[in-house]
């Protein structure tokens, strides 16, 4: 499950997602935002992540949708008044602004779903460790403890039920108290054992000198090329943004959207940036499919033969 965009060096993936988040927050233009939203959604589908997308969608739509509703209710700027609601003017601009903000939030959410899938904890920690080794070590240790503690907590819950300490029964007060007792047992046990963890760290020379970092990721030529492409495209977009491209003005009145040469360059740069992983993912998909087809045809002709015949006779 490590093909396509997931196989790139963590720094490439991080640059991509950092760029997407930055652009989602900087570029205030429906064309850009919708492009980004679609690109990430397609990337997720290509990576086979449609299910988490669907599962989170109702919550995200609710969060983002509420922004679209709240903005016109509370913001009354704008020159096109559509109607009055509870004596408050509802303007076209406010509705459009709310919708734009909704798209921004949706984009942020979806970028994070894709981020969670592509930049696994390992990769994040690898990058994090480069910037802040001690904090990263601390976080890694906590990450290692979480599944261990969950298992312990399960055992504790099972056993303490024998002596009547049970979150499942009794009134709210008792249940909350029992829950905390369970956590206290976990805490005592774990802190006791952690002394041994500290000993084993010390026994292996922790704290003697500056730690080095072992990496399982290698920055290959493809990664360097990708970094360069993403950086160049990203800078084009940022340059364009500083020039005033990639944003529309809604307040105080909507300005007609113009699409000149500068805007086009900026947008093309943005598309290249957003779509690069899609190209990687799609190419890999296509390669696998074609190689699979070749294998079936050449290596197992005898097996496929009768199968084809039977299907034909049907």
């Amino acid at each position: 499950m490590n093909g396509g965009f997931r196989s790139v060096h963590p720094s490439v993936a991080l640059l991509y997602y950092a760029g997407l988040l930055l652009f989602a927050m900087l570029l205030f233009h429906p064309l850009y935002l919708l492009t980004e939203l679609t690109a990430v959604a397609i990337l997720l589908l290509l990576q086979g992540q449609g299910r988490p997308l669907l599962r989170g969608l109702p919550f995200y739509l609710l969060m983002a949708g509420s922004v679209a509703v709240l903005n016109p209710l509370f913001s009354h700027r704008g020159s096109h008044i559509l109607f009055y609601f509870l004596d408050q003017p509802i303007t076209l601009e406010a509705i459009l602004y709310g919708l734009m903000m909704m798209v921004v939030l949706l984009t942020l959410f979806i970028v994070f779903i894709s981020y969670n899938y592509t930049v696994t904890t390992d990769k994040f920690m690898y990058l994090f460790a480069a910037a802040a080794p001690k904090s990263a070590l601390l976080t890694l240790m906590a990450i290692r403890f979480v599944p261990l503690f969950q298992r312990r907590l399960h055992q504790i819950t099972l056993i303490q039920r024998i002596r009547g300490i049970d979150v499942g029964t009794g009134n709210l007060r008792k249940r909350m108290r029992d829950g905390m007792t369970l956590l206290k047992v976990l805490l005592t046990w774990s802190l006791e054992e952690a002394l041994q963890t500290a000993d084993s760290m010390k026994a292996r020379g922790f704290g003697l000198r500056k730690r080095s970092a072992y990496a399982i990721y290698k920055l290959d030529r493809r990664d360097v090329a990708l970094l360069a492409i993403l950086a160049v495209c990203g800078l084009i977009v940022l340059g364009g943004w500083l020039q005033g491209y990639g944003k529309i003005e809604i307040y105080p009145r909507m300005k007609p959207v113009q699409f000149g040469g500068g805007e086009a360059t900026c947008f093309i740069g943005f598309c290249l940036f957003a779509l690069t992983p899609l190209w990687l993912e799609g190419r890999e998909k296509w390669l696998w499919r074609s190689s699979q087809r070749n294998v079936y045809l050449s290596a197992t002709p005898i097996k496929t033969g009768p199968h084809l015949m039977s299907s034909r006779s049907r």
């Binding site: 930055l22 927050m25 900087l26 205030f28 709240l70 903005n71 209710l73 509370f74 913001s75 700027r77 406010a94 709310g98 903000m101 921004v104 939030l105 942020l108 994070f112 969670n116 904890t121 480069a130 910037a131 802040a132 080794p133 001690k134 904090s135 601390l138 976080t139 240790m141 906590a142 990450i143 403890f145 979480v146 503690f149 969950q150 907590l153 979150v167 499942g168 007060r173 909350m176 108290r177 829950g179 905390m180 007792t181 369970l182 956590l183 206290k184 976990l186 805490l187 005592t188 774990s190 802190l191 952690a194 002394l195 500290a198 000993d199 760290m201 922790f206 704290g207 940022l238 307040y251």
Partner: protein
């Protein structure tokens, strides 16, 4: 590469901060700025951790407490909006001090989101829980925190503050609509959750402040660490 790491990071931070300021002043677009401000609040405290020599025992202790805080939601899965994370962070900070409290809160937020999914809320949660720990640690020697009632009030107030901070990133997405009514609407809509949070803080601190501080004090002696400050 290592040589250039810090200048590179600082340059990057300045660059992003510049962008954020431009976006905020030119377009009244505050999202990026808010993130930069959050980072500005969080980074110095993490830098302190990086700078000081760390014993393996301190590290392990912080990791265990963060992880316990992160899994503490599990036994209460059946009770909605009862989360003891804040209470645990307050108690840890009360025993081990402000810096440890901040680290435990922030790392607990980060780690639990690794299991529940990262999102735009991650830095905000790191900030809120970190600040709970930090303030609890600062106040731990005052007469106010020493008294039982003072600690309960502290937990109650932070229950609401936590919810309010978490509302900020939502309100910030509507700079044009910002008005006291909008803020009030957001806070009213989250009132029930905040109240539940505040009350459960009070309850947890009330029933277990004794038991837990005893356990933590015991281990502070046993580890023989983190006593300075």
């Amino acid at each position: 590469m290592v040589k250039f790491r810090f200048p590179l990071l600082i340059a990057l931070a300045v660059f992003v901060a510049g962008l954020a300021l431009t976006a905020a002043f030119k377009d009244r677009h505050y999202m990026l700025l808010s993130l930069v401000l959050l980072a500005a609040a969080l980074v110095p405290l993490f830098v302190r951790l990086e700078r000081r020599p760390l014993e393996s025992r301190e590290l392990v202790l912080l990791a265990v407490l963060s992880a316990v805080a992160a899994v503490s939601r599990v036994p209460f899965a059946a009770l909605p909006s009862v989360k003891p994370v804040s209470a645990i962070v307050i108690l840890s900070a009360y025993v081990f001090g402000a810096e440890a409290g901040f680290i435990i809160g922030a790392v607990a937020a980060l780690v639990s989101n690794i299991y529940f999914g990262q999102g735009p809320w991650t830095p905000w949660q790191m900030f809120s829980w970190g600040m709970i720990g930090l303030t609890a640690g600062w106040l731990r020697h005052t007469r106010w925190m020493r008294s039982r009632a003072g600690m309960l009030i502290f937990g109650f107030v932070w229950g609401f503050l936590f919810g309010w901070i978490m509302n900020v990133w939502y309100i910030i997405s509507l700079p044009e609509a910002f008005s006291w009514q909008l803020a009030a609407a957001a806070y009213v809509s989250s009132f029930y959750f905040d109240l539940a949070h505040a009350l459960s803080n009070v309850f947890f601190l009330a029933i277990l402040a004794g038991g837990w501080t005893k356990v933590l004090e015991r281990f502070r002696k046993k580890y023989g660490l983190l006593q300075q400050e």
